[in-house]
């Protein structure tokens, strides 16, 4: 309030009024200057020189100073200045180097007063002495500054900058005799008007031309300079060396700079290129303009505050041939629109959050929504130009990290790594995956796997009593499993992982789990016995051609397994399913050339159903058909997969899709499958689970997906003996007719990971070498070298 009263007194009781307005000029303006009474403005340009009266609602043309029939070059103005003491005195700088003074008091139409033709090139700037009535200063492209006494015909003194063109000259308000000049080479010079021989002080202010400068109206030692380097610098000239106190970064070269009246730290700038806007900056917040005027459609060439004590009216002239009056309260405020917060969800469920400190510091930071942020200033009582500066805004940055195990994405990684997707009988896969899910506390998912197992693999391992119980209950409708184990009971809660009431299903699923673990154990037993028989070669992915051997093993395998089943006939539906799906052999083929992550036991196991189905096919048909129509479940399972996908658990959708394979594939359209696959692969890659992602790509049946691996992947193999590139025909070198990269342990060709000792260059399958080294540190090839592996 105190401040406001000072403004009105400064305006001698008559506060300025007006609104944002503009008027069209006949020609582009080069410069403007305001009369001391704040009611008139002069506009000068190459072909315009007019005085306008500023009225409440509009500009009114008052006087055209461009008289005479023949336009003279003297009237082509680069700059204009109105004397701040004498309302009838004006000076213009002409592009032909002439400085002209105008006396509005002359009775004739031609107000031209005096003509100084001393400069040889364009005069860039003219400036009256702030207190002395007759002293005029000019700065020209020719590198000279001249001081004129209007009572004399010639210049009083000439100042040579000794450098390049002069862009601006400004009398100091603080020192009677001092003026500053800026140059195209980036220098600023300080002169004493009494000493034309040399400057008092010189310093380099900018990179490139310094287009403008302005002395601070109150802080008399401050000089603001603006340059082509897009910067406005504020210099403290009171110290021995000019000290840069502030630096404002603008977005374009600075053509004009003007301190805002009554606002110690505000200044207005405009640019001569690219940018048409006028900005008002608080020099203490040098990155964001405090206000922005966007009225002009072309470069703004002149700006002037209407009254030296009124901070809210800004006048501007532009190349778009308009003269504008801007009201500060109508300015757009980029700060207000700027987003004060940044928020990003991380991969692991962590959140990065940056917010303006005032928003997060105290509760008072909370402000009600005002509806319209662009003009919030309308709702304020009055703009207080000297409102206490809020201080340089800063943000607090913090990352909210998930505590391990509390809903972070670790479950995803664990699940992805531990799920078994192929290489074992369906029942085992389901059991295994159910176990994984259960161990991670994802009970709904675990149950889904268990159900899938029951649906597709028969209740083979469920003890007879239990099974017959459920069968008996549901025998009337022929859907025992569905009745007692309703999908709907489980599915809804899956996304949220909450424990639903599972009273009914609980006991059953538990028994199933028990059984499944039992199977796992028996299987492991089998594997171990098997492992001793089978050459360890199968540990790697070079099993081609050895399928026969596996076949030989299979009957033995199945036989050993079958006695374990309590009700062997219950296992038939699984076999039935596999027979039912047409491309049984193709399935086999897939297995053969895909990498067997789970190892040799997987191979052996995957072959089991195929093999055994031949003998049991007739029985299973009879059993199955009578109970369940083949497609009965698939629709339901597809729905379930879609549900999982919609809940964001595409992992489940893809895993089930892969595990069930042909059983459900045909019921889901290709595009959706592809979408699931790409989404899941993308997710896996995000978590750097490259192996899993590769496995998924390989196991996928969608052509678009499985080709992902092949695109832009080339494997070049050179012979290890003769160093020649190998032909594509096989692992035998054409040239030296030897097998390349033989494993020193098993004497087979290594097609996967080859590890070798750098000392003797013998090596082989990674697993074999590792195993070998457990027992001996000598080279397996028998060369006697003590192999070293890091």
């Amino acid at each position: 309030m105190e401040k406001m009263s000072r403004v009105t007194t400064a305006l001698s009781g008559s506060a300025l009024t007006g609104r944002t307005m503009h008027c069209h000029l006949d020609a582009p303006a080069n410069a403007i200057s305001v009369c001391r009474d704040a009611a008139q403005v002069v506009v000068a340009g190459r072909s315009i020189f007019k005085i306008y009266a500023i009225e409440e609602e509009r500009f009114v043309e008052k006087l055209n100073l461009r008289v005479g029939r023949k336009p003279s070059l003297n009237l082509s103005c680069a700059d204009v200045v109105w004397h701040q003491m004498d309302e009838s005195l004006l000076a213009t700088a002409a592009t032909n180097g002439v400085v002209v003074t105008w006396n509005l008091g002359r009775p004739s139409r031609n107000k031209q007063d005096q003509l100084f033709t001393e400069h040889k090139r364009t005069v860039n700037k003219v400036c009256f002495h702030p207190t002395e009535a007759h002293v005029l200063l000019s700065g020209s492209q020719d590198g000279f500054m001249k001081c004129f006494d209007l009572r004399r015909k010639d210049s009083v003194s000439t100042f040579s900058g000794q450098s390049e063109s002069v862009r601006d000259v400004q009398f100091s308000i603080r020192d009677y005799f001092t003026f500053a000049s800026t140059f195209e080479n980036g220098n600023v010079q300080l002169w004493d008007i009494r000493r034309p021989d040399r400057c008092e002080r010189m310093f380099t202010a900018h990179n490139g031309p310094v287009f403008c400068c302005d002395w601070h109206p109150e802080d008399r030692g401050w000089l603001a300079t603006g340059g082509r380097d897009k910067m406005v610098k504020v210099w403290d000239m009171t110290t021995h060396r000019a000290k840069e106190v502030h630096c404002v970064q603008t977005i374009a070269s600075v053509a004009r700079v003007k301190w805002r009246p009554e606002c110690r730290h505000h200044l207005a700038t405009c640019s001569m290129m690219v940018d048409h806007n006028i900005y008002v900056w608080d020099v203490r917040r040098p990155f964001v303009p405090a206000a922005m005027f966007e009225e002009h459609r072309d470069v703004t060439t002149g700006i002037a505050w209407r009254h030296p004590h009124d901070p809210s009216f800004l006048l501007s002239g532009s190349k778009d041939s308009t003269l504008c009056q801007h009201l500060f309260r109508d300015a757009s405020q980029p700060v207000e629109r700027a987003n004060p917060e940044g928020l990003c969800y991380g991969l692991f469920g962590d959140l990065a959050f940056a917010a303006k400190e005032s928003l997060v510091a105290v509760e008072s930071g909370r402000k009600p929504y005002t509806g319209d942020r662009r003009h919030p200033i309308f709702f304020k009582k009055k703009v207080d130009p000297a409102a206490p500066f809020a201080g340089l805004a800063s943000s607090a940055l913090s990352v909210f990290e998930m505590e391990p195990g509390s809903g972070s994405m670790s479950w995803f990684v664990d699940t992805a790594e531990r799920y078994a997707l192929a290489g074992r009988p369906l029942a085992e896969l389901c059991d295994h995956n159910a176990k994984v899910a259960r161990e991670l506390g994802r009970n709904q998912v675990a149950q889904t796997w268990t159900m899938l197992r029951i649906i597709y693999c028969s209740p083979g391992l469920v003890p007879g009593t239990n099974l017959s119980h459920s069968v008996g209950k549901g025998s009337s409708c022929g859907l025992p499993l569905m009745n007692s184990f309703n999908l709907k009971d489980v599915a809804p809660g899956l996304g949220s992982e909450t424990r639903l009431d599972r009273s009914k299903g609980d006991t059953r699923s538990d028994t199933v789990l028990l059984d499944s673990s039992a199977t796992l154990i028996t299987n492991e037993d089998n594997e171990e016995t098997e492992g001793s028989d089978v050459p360890a070669d199968y540990l790697l992915c070079d099993v081609e051609g050895e399928d026969d051997e596996l076949y030989l093993l299979d009957p033995e395998h199945t036989h050993s397994e079958e006695p374990e089943y309590v009700l062997p006939q219950e296992a038939f539906p699984l076999r039935h399913e596999i027979v039912d799906t047409p491309p049984g052999p193709e399935h086999l083929q897939d297995k053969a050339d895909s990498p067997h992550v789970s190892g040799s036991e997987a191979d052996a196991a995957s072959l089991v159903p195929v093999d055994s189905s031949f003998s049991l096919i007739s029985v299973s048909h009879a059993l199955y058909d009578s109970r369940l129509p083949p497609d009965f479940f698939s629709a339901l399972v597809c729905d379930m997969l879609r549900f999982y996908a919609e809940q964001g658990d595409v992992q489940m959708a893809v895993s089930v899709l892969v595990v069930l394979g042909e059983r459900v594939r045909k019921d889901i359209d290709e595009q959706t499958q592809e979408h699931w696959y790409t989404s899941y692969i993308d997710l896996l890659q995000r978590f750097c689970l490259w192996n899993v992602s590769n496995q998924v790509v390989k196991l996928s049946t969608s052509r678009a997906i499985s080709c992902l691996n092949q695109a832009s992947t080339t494997l070049h193999v050179n012979c290890s003996h003769c160093k020649r590139p190998m032909s594509s025909r096989g692992w035998v070198c054409d040239r030296c007719h030897r097998c390349a990269s033989m494993c020193a342990v098993c004497h087979h060709v290594v097609k996967g990971l080859f590890v070798w000792c750098q000392g003797c260059s013998h090596g082989g399958h990674l697993q074999h070498i590792m195993k070998w080294l457990e027992g001996s540190s000598h080279c397996p090839a028998g060369c006697g070298h003590l192999c070293e592996y890091s």
Binding site: Q249, R285, F287, V288, P334, A338, N339, E341, G342, L343, C344, Y345, G346, L347, F348, L351, A352, F353, A354, A355, K356, V360, G365, R366, K367, P368, Y369, R373, L392, A393, S394, S395, L397, F400, E401, S406, M409, L487, A491, P492, G493, L494, G495, S496, L636, M640, R642, F643, G648, V650, Q671, T672, E674, H675, W676, T678, S679, D682, Q685, R686
Partner: protein, 360 residues
């Protein structure tokens, strides 16, 4: 359930955006101080600033990572009317910069005549593309035809939105069934109540982006917009930060029913609307699976929203921005009367007919 880790960002002005990279191990921040900082997560989980450089000559509004397949690439956009693409170069072995990384400007996109308010890379399957939007209401889509040459970007599309744009979001769906789609929000504050969110879809036949939908119900300035990651959903979820948090679903109407060739028609539904921030909402961000939405507002809090199995969105957590004790419990969320519960629930069970049995 959350632990706040405060980071001394040392930006000299407001931070306007934070962005994690594809793998979640790097973070970029941008600020009004015209700089971008890159933060790397150490083994111990601390974030270290590994690069900080002046990117623009005005406030930097947004920073975003490209898919790592294209290298370590950032895009930024600024008040200075440009957007820029940056690439990290790891020093060669010969000079003293060995092992050190620095960021090189690959291109400056100067087509806008006004402040560029948002920049976003397109989903990876579309190639190396990015979209910018600017205060003059134009969305520009650029493409780098050669992914190895990040300095060559060609302006592919200019889409006029008629309103000052503040934010854009690509539909991240990788499904072939979903053509490229981009949603644009406007923070235009003029009193006329125009719809502030438009959705544009790429038309294969005309090879242009055409307006597919306008969300007529959003008439207040929009400050952020985000499509949820689509991991196999048939429909899209769009979150909007305006005076409140809103979540929309856009369900494509089956093609057979619409005239072929035209833009996809959508069935749009507001599934949630929350004014719990009690103020302007500035940012929305989805988690990686598109199941949890985080929003931040003028109240300085981050709120987490999650749908239950009934597709009822609820607040599941509130985080204070200053890292003060975090109230992650769901009690608070439930205490707030959420508009979401008033909205007709979408039944999201396996099949609708037996959904009712659940409670019996």
């Amino acid at each position: 359930m959350f632990v706040a880790r405060s980071i001394a960002a040392d930006h000299k002005d407001l931070i306007h955006d934070v962005s994690f990279d594809f793998h979640g191990r790097r973070m970029a921040t941008c600020s009004s101080d015209q700089s971008v900082k890159v933060w790397d997560k150490s083994e111990s989980g601390d974030w270290h600033c590994t690069a900080s450089w002046k990117t623009h000559s005005g406030s930097v509004w947004r920073v975003t990572w490209a898919h790592p397949e294209f290298g370590q690439v950032l895009a930024s956009c600024s008040f200075d009317r440009t957007a820029a693409v940056w690439e990290e170069i790891v020093g060669e072995s010969n000079d003293k910069l060995r092992g050190q990384s620095h960021w090189v400007k690959r291109t400056t996109l100067v087509d806008s005549r006004t402040s560029v308010t948002d920049v976003k890379f397109a989903p990876k399957h579309m190639g190396l593309m990015l979209a910018t939007c600017s205060a003059d209401g134009i969305v520009r889509i650029y493409e780098a035809p050669d992914v190895m040459n990040l300095s060559q970007w060609s302006l592919q599309h200019e889409v006029s939105c008629k309103l000052s744009c503040s934010c854009i979001s690509w539909n991240p769906s990788s499904s072939r069934a979903h053509p490229p789609m981009i949603a644009v929000g406007s923070d235009d504050g003029s009193p006329n109540a125009m719809a502030k969110v438009q959705v544009f879809e790429y038309n294969e036949n005309t090879r242009k982006y055409a307006k597919a939908e306008t969300l007529m119900t959003v008439t207040d300035p929009v400050h952020d917009i985000a499509f949820a990651p689509n991991l196999g959903r048939s429909f899209h979820i769009l979150a909007i930060a305006t005076k409140d948090v809103r979540i929309f679903t856009l369900k494509p109407v089956r093609k057979e029913l619409t005239s072929s060739g035209g833009p996809t028609k959508f069935e749009i539904q507001v599934v949630a609307q929350f004014d719990n921030h009690n103020s302007q909402v500035w940012r929305v961000s989805w988690n990686i699976t598109g199941t949890v939405l985080a929003s931040s507002g003028d109240d300085g809090c981050v709120r987490l929203w999650k749908a239950n199995y009934m597709d009822n969105w609820k607040c599941t957590g509130i985080l204070k921005g200053n890292g003060s004790p975090v109230s992650g419990s769901s009690q608070q969320g439930n205490a707030n009367p959420s508009l979401g519960s008033n909205i007709p629930n979408l039944q999201h069970s396996l099949n609708g007919s037996s959904a009712g049995r659940k409670h019996s």
